[in-house]
Symmetry: C2
Subunit: 307 residues, 2 copies
């Protein structure tokens, strides 16, 4: 089946204890679509500038990612610079140049309207809601957001949350959104805002999915997927978006839509997140094989499963 | 089989967002022995003052814990006061009165010398080493320590680490001990100091066990046990010691000593840690049944296992 992602395409400058890179093709939609492309057909809606040329197109085309929805605007593509010091969980932003992304108005090509699944990467909540309303045929909608929107546009975000099925955020965002420091209680409050399931990402400690009673199956037991203890994290940028790509991509590859599928999707999310941080930018996502993905899935299983 | 724990018995004053208690029987040896008592015979070496009377003895005796090794000294028992605010992972210490614990010199009763397992709770490393040397018949020795000893007595601690099989510490302590911010690399460095296996506790995110190549089985794959997402953490004091009690207690209850046993022990550690925080002090550990423990073990399994 097919999945549509709406989000940012960017060029990043990244510095970490392992080195630094400049002008790397990045952005949430890039990480997401590369990760998801190992599981299903991916379509992208984004905006880029004049500096997005055949080299960048090739990155997507090599993975049969449909970029007919990537709008070319006059000006430069979104650029971001960040530095990671010892705490690899959090980047210090060196600069943000929104450029053509500042006036991004997602336009869904006619050919995308039959997409089976939808992922709203981290953009302004009102835009997310508008896209969601247009994509009424989507079987399941995933959504990301961030502190900035939680603080600045709570009303718009509340509207968006009513329209999505699964929200993927991190611990800090969940607690901030719910005004609640206890994680399971925060999860309940967030799901009361709309999502049927909530994925809370814990960085190097993995991620937990919480289910609303009756959603995708019975009961309210959460499920936790690990992250792999990785000896060298070169660049954590895009780990969350790659997690989302593995998670949503796996779901889109399955006929059924139940808890067992969502649990396995959590593992595939962790797998894709664990790969991407091994290199700078999305490089590692460009050369994976399905065998490598399955082997790491088994590693995740061995890491957590009792005989 | 039997396990000997050497550590502190204390009276605690604790304040958390859920309330406060005063003069609660606590201390690492108390939490450890109560948790371990559900799995195996426990013997305690500790020191208490005149304020330790029949009511306190009863807490141990109700669990058939052997306290012949608990020395009665003139003066008051160790007292600690702490406050938890929103960050339940870390207590602010309000006061520490070492009292009779200040000059604690562990004396092992003759009847304890045949103990099959040994746990060195968090006390001065030189005392831990002395106990370990005396208990040469122990099949496996577990050990805890803390920042204070890592910083103040690194030489003594290094000597102790050569003598223990499994060290149980938290993320911060592991990184500090190894002078290394990456967790898997820190784990390798710590194991190079002596322990064959290292349990790193991640608070609300569970715990990971790392194995030295060839120790307790083949390979170097770590194993991660979850913590239960708990809606109301009343008092996190003793969670680590209760984890250690469940972990070591389960190991002591098994005939075999291999990786599968250690992995299951990680789950039982998490189970006991998850129970204790539900009430102030060790209260929850006083009234458990083996059925409740097994039911929660199943909950941990459901939380992490794919079909």
């Amino acid at each position: 089946m097919s999945i549509l992602v709406v989000g940012s395409v960017a060029f990043d400058d990244v510095t970490s204890p392992s080195g630094s890179v400049k002008n790397v093709l990045a952005g949430a939609a890039t990480y997401f679509s590369l990760a998801a492309s190992y599981f299903t057909d991916v379509r992208v809606v984004a905006v880029v500038g004049d500096d997005f040329g055949p080299d960048q197109e090739k990155v997507f085309r090599d993975h049969r990612i449909d970029i007919r929805g990537v709008e070319r605007a006059n000006g430069k593509t979104f650029r971001w610079g960040g530095t990671y010091t010892d705490n690899l969980n959090e980047a210090q932003t060196d600069f943000t140049e929104l450029n053509v992304f500042e006036s991004f108005q997602p336009r869904i090509p006619k050919e995308y309207e039959d997409s089976d699944f939808l992922f709203l990467a981290n953009i302004q909540p009102a835009l997310q809601a508008a896209v969601r309303r247009k994509m009424s045929r989507a079987r399941l909608t995933g959504c990301d957001t961030m502190n900035y929107w939680i603080n600045r546009t709570p009303t718009e975000l509340a509207e968006t949350l009513k329209l999505v099925d699964v929200l993927l955020i991190n611990d800090t965002e969940a607690k901030m959104l719910a005004h609640e420091t206890n994680l399971p209680r925060a999860a309940q409050k967030v799901m009361a805002m709309g999502p049927k399931a909530l994925v809370i990402k814990h960085g190097e400690y993995g991620a937990t999915i919480f289910f609303r009673e009756g959603a995708f199956g019975f009961g309210t037991h959460p499920f936790r997927a690990p992250a792999l203890p990785i000896e060298e994290v070169k660049d954590p940028t895009g780990a969350g978006d790659s997690f989302a790509g593995g998670f949503m991509g796996y779901i889109a590859s399955q006929q059924e839509l139940n808890r067992e599928v969502l649990k396995r999707a959590m593992f595939y999310g962790g797998v894709m997140g664990s790969f991407v941080v091994e290199r700078f930018g999305p490089e590692r996502l460009r050369s994976l094989t399905r065998d490598e993905i399955e082997a790491r899935f088994q590693l995740f299983r061995e890491l957590t499963h009792l005989e």
